[in-house]
């Protein structure tokens, strides 16, 4: 029994679990919803505001929306609601298997605890990347349909920056779900990490050189700006690897 074989079999189980349980619907549903509704909302914002506010805003001139507004809406939804959902969904990524007893049956077979943790992080990061690809394609196509033009650079650079942020939070939740037995507790701690990162990003050096700046840079990229993302991306990826390694180490020491 090779080490890679156990890794592959467990990875296949993890992918099947996504496909055959509620995980198949929740995060995909949220992302598809925002992908489908974002471009029309951006396109018809002036008309919607006009219909809702009537003559009360007659003096206010709403600028004509562009494809960048649709991109911006997608990026905002990703960095806020989609990330919150991700944090909550992955609160029990590892602890749920400990509580249900499935981890005991798996880990008394030739699967190492490190592989158990790393597979979960990798498969779910790949799942999020797939969802992002589908959602961004939908946003791109609908934006092109609504605005007649949809240059891809701003949208895809924003999506890629968010992907790095999402992978980082999958890693954060992997670690937290090893350390905290309660899924709700881990989700709460994950939201705390998000809030702390948002506060940290107020200080410009942290926003420019650490993962704390990723969310604002994703939004800026979607707005057609060209933010410097190299440092936040590299430090975030390094942090993600470190967090998963830490999770694996902590899980090896845990009693089941």
């Amino acid at each position: 029994m090779s080490r890679s074989s156990g890794f592959t079999v467990f990875a296949r189980k993890e992918a099947q679990e996504i496909w055959r349980t509620w995980r198949r619907w929740v995060l995909p549903g949220i992302l598809v919803f925002f992908a489908v509704t974002g471009p029309p909302l951006a396109r018809y914002t002036p008309q919607i505001v006009q219909a809702v506010a009537g003559d009360q805003l007659s003096g206010l001139e709403i600028p004509t929306p562009t494809y960048l507004d649709a991109y911006g809406q997608w990026a905002q939804n990703l960095t806020q609601i989609a990330l919150f959902a991700l944090i909550i969904i992955y609160g029990g990524l590892v602890s749920a298997e400990r509580r249900s007893g499935t981890a005991v049956l798996v880990l008394t077979k030739p699967v190492s605890r490190s592989a158990f943790v790393v597979v979960k992080a990798v498969v779910n990061a790949a799942f999020v990347a797939t969802l992002l690809l589908v959602g961004t394609l939908l946003t791109w196509g609908l934006t092109a349909a609504m605005f007649d033009t949809a240059p891809g650079a701003a949208l895809w650079s924003a999506a890629l920056v968010w992907l790095v942020l999402a992978i980082q939070f999958v890693a954060v939740m992997t670690l937290l779900s090893v350390l905290i037995s309660s899924a709700a507790g881990a989700a709460g701690a994950g939201l705390g990490v998000y809030v702390l990162a948002s506060i940290a990003a107020i200080w410009q050096p942290l926003a420019d050189y650490t993962p704390a700046g990723l969310a604002s840079k994703a939004v800026a990229a979607a707005a057609g700006q060209d933010p410097a993302v190299a440092w936040p991306v590299v430090t975030s990826l390094a942090l993600s690897v470190g967090l998963v390694a830490l999770a694996a180490t902590a899980f090896r020491r845990r009693e089941l």
Binding site: M1, S5, F10, G101, T102, K109, V111, S112
Partner: protein, 311 residues
Amino acid sequence: MSAPAAIRTTALTKVYGDTRALDGVDLTVPEGSIFGFLGPNGAGKTTMLRLITGLAQPTSGTAEVLGRDVTQAGNLVRAEVGFLPDVPGFYDWMTAEDFLRFAGSLFGLRGTLLDQRVAMLLDLAGLTGVTSRVGGFSRGMKQRLGVAQALVNAPRLLLLDEPTSALDPMGRKDLLEMIASLRGRTTVFFSTHILGDVERVCDAVAILDHGRVVAQAPIAELTAAYGERKVVVEVTDGADELAALLAARPWAASVVRGPNGSIEVTVTDAVAAQHDIPAIVAGQGIGLARLEAGEMGLEEVFVELVGGERR
């Protein structure tokens, strides 16, 4: 050189806070044996199995499984071991066949071998043709599936934690027969508090109480050793008066009146008792119908060893 052991623990100790769940356990399970690990609830049986499977780390002492230290060996040991926990947890979204295929694949089984093994184990578990998800299974069905998954790798060592506890009488009978059929091919180590199961299939037994092994031996040897400490006397008449006299002797730990004229005496010194009793009977002027060493069943041995100190 010591005999090959499937499991060997040395001064194995596990402490949780102020509680010593296991306290210096020395245990040797011979390879090929069917070994019963008996103990009352809370004695430390599940803790022992968690240490043997590497799910928990010992506070001190060592545990070797199939000749390897479990804290170091990892996949090498796990590849040769099958394990059924006391309450097996399954992925509710899988079917029984899905889980057995998954478990077999983790052991590197593929293709026809995996197909045959899964079909055979589904049959063994009485789950052939059951296509519903495990989430809807009864506890007994889950227990049978748990036994099947523990056998998927044809293990050298099968570890079962309270395997019959959730089974109905027929399921229990089938499982015990299956365990007996593994004799000589697979070492089976199973924990239980059901003495009948142990008497029925086990070659040897260890009795655990308050985290300590209080006895460890082949069953016949264990019952014989304790049988020597029991004497049965049967007299023609005057059994009650004789029982009172025997109870006053220094070697009499307890005296129980049996049917007719029989008296069961648990003794602290069998030789002294066998010398004294005929003289006492003769002194009473009554007829001695029978005087012999009594036989204790495993249940009586168990009660003798752990019953007196139950908290």
